[in-house]
Every structure is written in structure tokens, then in C-alpha cells.
Symmetry: D2
Subunit: 156 residues, 4 copies
């Protein structure tokens, strides 16, 4: 699994998302509740990325985004994914495999992040809207990782 964790981090980076970007949102969300540092938030992100549910969701979600943007899926699925109307919903479900694992605080944080789209989540979403790359699954996955980190910190 160590190897898959590293691959997951690499895949995130290839799509423009670093551990630092994720930790930044975690810090911003949690600093109001507790005294934390950026370094601590990075450690929490790395600990969340140890979990197999998180690794599998990252790898699968990014693979689907890439297959959609290069037209490697059935035409009707490419249409659904690249247009990402709010009603598609499979992207949020995939992210749930991360969120469920981290309890109810993760769940409510996920909903909030998915709607507010702060920092890197908003930038990813924007890239998707400009059709530069397909980010339908990626933005939900990043929101889910942040939510998992928030829950981890809150439960400590």
C-alpha cells in the first residue's frame, strides 16, 4: 500500500493538487477551533492518505476524469462527466467512500466544502468549467480529503 500511496500523491500532483494545497484549506477551516500549524495540517493530510479507501478513491476518480477528457469511455458517459451537471451525482458518491470512513464531522464538512469550494477546490472547479481538463471527480475527492482531515483534527 505504501507504493500506492505514493502513486496517489503523484496523480494528485499531475492534476495540479499538492499536499500543501490541501493542508492550506484544512488549516483555514480548523484554525478557528484549535491552535494548529501548517506543518501539523500537512502531517494530518499525509496520515489520511494512508487509508486504503482514500487511496482507491483518488486513483479511481482521477482515472475516470482522464478517461473522460480523452474520450476513452462510452460517448454518453463522456457527456455526463465532462458536463458535470449538478444532478450527475456519481462524483459525490465516490467521494463518500472517503467521507464515510471518517465519521459525521467529515460528512458535514464535505457538504460545506462542496458548496463553498475554497482555494484549490475552487481553482480545480474553474479549470473544469473552462474545459481545460476534466475535474468532475477531482474536486469532490479533494473536498473529501479536506473533510477527512477536519474530522481527524476535531476528534483529537
Amino acid at each position: 500500500m505504501v507504493n500506492l500511496k505514493e502513486i496517489a500523491i503523484k496523480r494528485l500532483e499531475e492534476r495540479g493538487v499538492t499536499i500543501h494545497d490541501i493542508a492550506l484549506i484544512v488549516y483555514d477551516l480548523q484554525k478557528q477551533y484549535t491552535t494548529i500549524t501548517h506543518e501539523y495540517c500537512q502531517e494530518i493530510v499525509l496520515s489520511v492518505l494512508e487509508e486504503k479507501e482514500v487511496i482507491y478513491a483518488i486513483l479511481t476518480g482521477i482515472a475516470i476524469d482522464k478517461a473522460a477528457e480523452t474520450n476513452l469511455l462510452d460517448k454518453e458517459v463522456v457527456d455526463l462527466i465532462t458536463n458535470d451537471k449538478g444532478i450527475y451525482g456519481i462524483d459525490e458518491i465516490l467521494a463518500l467512500s472517503i467521507v464515510n470512513r471518517f465519521g459525521s464531522i467529515a460528512l458535514t464538512n464535505f457538504g460545506y466544502l462542496d458548496k463553498e469550494k475554497p482555494y484549490i477546490i475552487g481553482r480545480i472547479d474553474q479549470l473544469g468549467k473552462e474545459k481545460r481538463i476534466c475535474t468532475t471527480f477531482l474536486d469532490d475527492i479533494v473536498a473529501a480529503i479536506v473533510a477527512a482531515c477536519s474530522s481527524t483534527i476535531a476528534n483529537k
Copy 2:
């Protein structure tokens, strides 16, 4: 089921939540996406209250709140519920029986509402914090109903 729907509405009112209060948040959330009226939002709330998952969650959640505030449950459970620290989580889970029924848009809206607590949701939460009544389950249930309504409108 017709009868249970009426009882559910009555129980909500007894705890200070009217159909009108709920419709107000629905209107406020959805008006930016589509042209709607308050009357229409009230109709949507009433249609969501037809669903048995919604009725059962309302009746059960309010019954638990009331049993907790009058010390009719095991002491340790009364403590957990009346203190409602964010880590308890059973209240959000109960609300999920409503949210799941209405798809992924309901899920993300629920998380948002649970964090932002607009209008009546905030007022309920405040009542609970002042220990005037126990609202641990009620605020999540109302947020879930609003989320279900938002999803219903968005999917039309």
C-alpha cells in the same frame, strides 16, 4: 401514513418549527438558481413530508430530544445528547435517512446547512445551547428536510 404526516407536522410545530420556517430557507437557498415563490417552496416542503423516511426521522428524532430533556433515557445517553458535542454524530446519522433518499444534491446541501445554520436552524441551535429545550436531533432533521427540498427543486 396520512395521519402520521399530520402528527409529524404537529410535533415540529410543538418544537417551534413551522412549514413556513422551513420553506423560508428553501426559498433563500434556491432563489439564486431558479424563479420560485414562497408558496411553491411550501408545496415542496409538504411533498417531502409525504415520504415515510422523512416522517419516521422527524417523529423519532423529536421523541429522543424530548426523552433526553426530561431524563427518561440512561444517564450517559442523556449526557451525550444534551451536551451535543460535535463528535456525538448519531443526530447527523438519523438525518441521513432523509438525505440519502433525495440523492447527492441533498447530501451536499445538508452539510452546508449543518455548518451555516441559517434562520430557524440557527434559532433551534441557539435554544439548545441555552439548554431551554434539547434540540440535538431537531436541528439536523430540519436541515435534512431543507436539503431534501433543495434537491427536489434542483432535479426538476
Copy 3:
């Protein structure tokens, strides 16, 4: 959506699953509780296939299976999906987008079907194990559709 429903049925058939196959399991599961006919079960299957969550899950799941079997996804994801060890879990999560929509009876039936794998679900699973086609997502989707039908009948 009418068109997407027809495409979803066609995609299922291309992977060897007919409405008749699905209705057969529904009949077998529900005949002990109520007097039903095969025709009625087919109607229920067709009504479940009206729901967008169901259509999207079918189209997406089958597209992923096909992309995995033709090596169109990242190598590590192809490995995860074509080996479908029990711990992968993304296939069950995708099926949850169907199951959640149909309430708690659907949920418990899904778990049962996923473990027992009756009729067509077992045959799909066997095809996957023989590496003739990739059926990692397909068997869970079919189990979820059957579970949704069982819940629909039980709630009537």
C-alpha cells in the same frame, strides 16, 4: 432521460444482463412475502430504471469495467479493478448511489445479494473470475437494482 434509460438497458444487455434476468431474482426474493408474477417484477425493474441515479450508476459502472478490461485507465487502477479483491470497495460505493435512493430495505437486501450472488449475479461474477470480461462494477450494480426492486415491492 428516456433516451439514457434505453441506452442503460442496451449497455446491460451488451454485458449479458437482461431485464428478464434481473426480474427473475426479484421474483425469487419476494415471492415468499407476497403474491407476485414475473410480469409484475419486470414492470418493477423497468420502473426502477426510470430513476436517474440508477441510470447514471449503470452507465458509469459499465464504462469503468470496459475501460479497465481494455487497459484504457492508469495501470495501477486497471490492476485494482481487474483483480477486484474484496478490499477495493469502490464498486460497492458506486452501487450505493442506487441503494441509498431506495431506503433501508434496499440496503440490507444489497448486502445479502452481494454475498449470496444468486442467478445472473453469480454468473457475472464467474465471468469476471475467469477474466473473460471485467465485471467488477457490473455485479454490484445488478445486485443494487435487485435490492431497489425488492424495497419498492416491500414498501407497497
Copy 4:
């Protein structure tokens, strides 16, 4: 939390469920996949009972069962809970707070156990049907604990 874990175990025992009873089902389910002992299964059960989601679900579920059987909840809720028709569904939802925490293997095992009701789960269910005590939430909670243990073993 140590204290609440002990209270949760005591509450289970007061309702007729021992760690040994739970471990017995875990052993029976998992012995086909791996070499395990009863002692190991007991350790796994105790480790699952460390999790706060599990403790909270046990305490809350049993408290609701007891309040229902002594008529301490609203009449309509007592009726819903003591009759536990399959369509109530709040009991399964509460158990989900345990199941979700332990991933997709826990989810499918839960559905299976909820339908098959082996050993102590069946005995609890029977007690409930004979109206000797209310076990509407208890049987789902025990099934969820077993499912969590199965998932824990399978993931090792």
C-alpha cells in the same frame, strides 16, 4: 471514553448480549477465509468497541429500545418501534453509523447478517417478536458490530 466503553458492554449484557456471543458469529463468518481462534475474535470485538461511533450507537440504540418498551416516548413512536415493521428503517440507519466507519466489506456483511440473523442476532429478534423486550435497535446494532469485526479481519 474508556468508561463509556465499559458502560456500553454492560448495557449489551443487560440486554442479553455478551462479547462471547458476538465473537461467536464473527468466528463463524470468518473461519472459512482465514485461520482464526475464538480468542482472536473476542479481541477484535473489543477493539471495535473502542471506536466512539460504535459506543455511541450502542448506548443510543439500547436507550431507545428501553424507552419504547416502557412507553416513555410519544405514542406513535412507541408503536413504530415496538412493531418494527421492515419499513421503519431508523434502526438500520443508526447501525450505519457503525458500518460506514468500517468500509464496504462491513456494509455488505451487515446486509447479509440483517437478513440471515445467525445465533444471538436471531435470538434477540425472536425475543422482540414475542414482545418480551423491545429489540428493534439492538439486533441491528449487534449485526453492525459483527460486520465491523468481519471487515477488520478481512482487511488485515
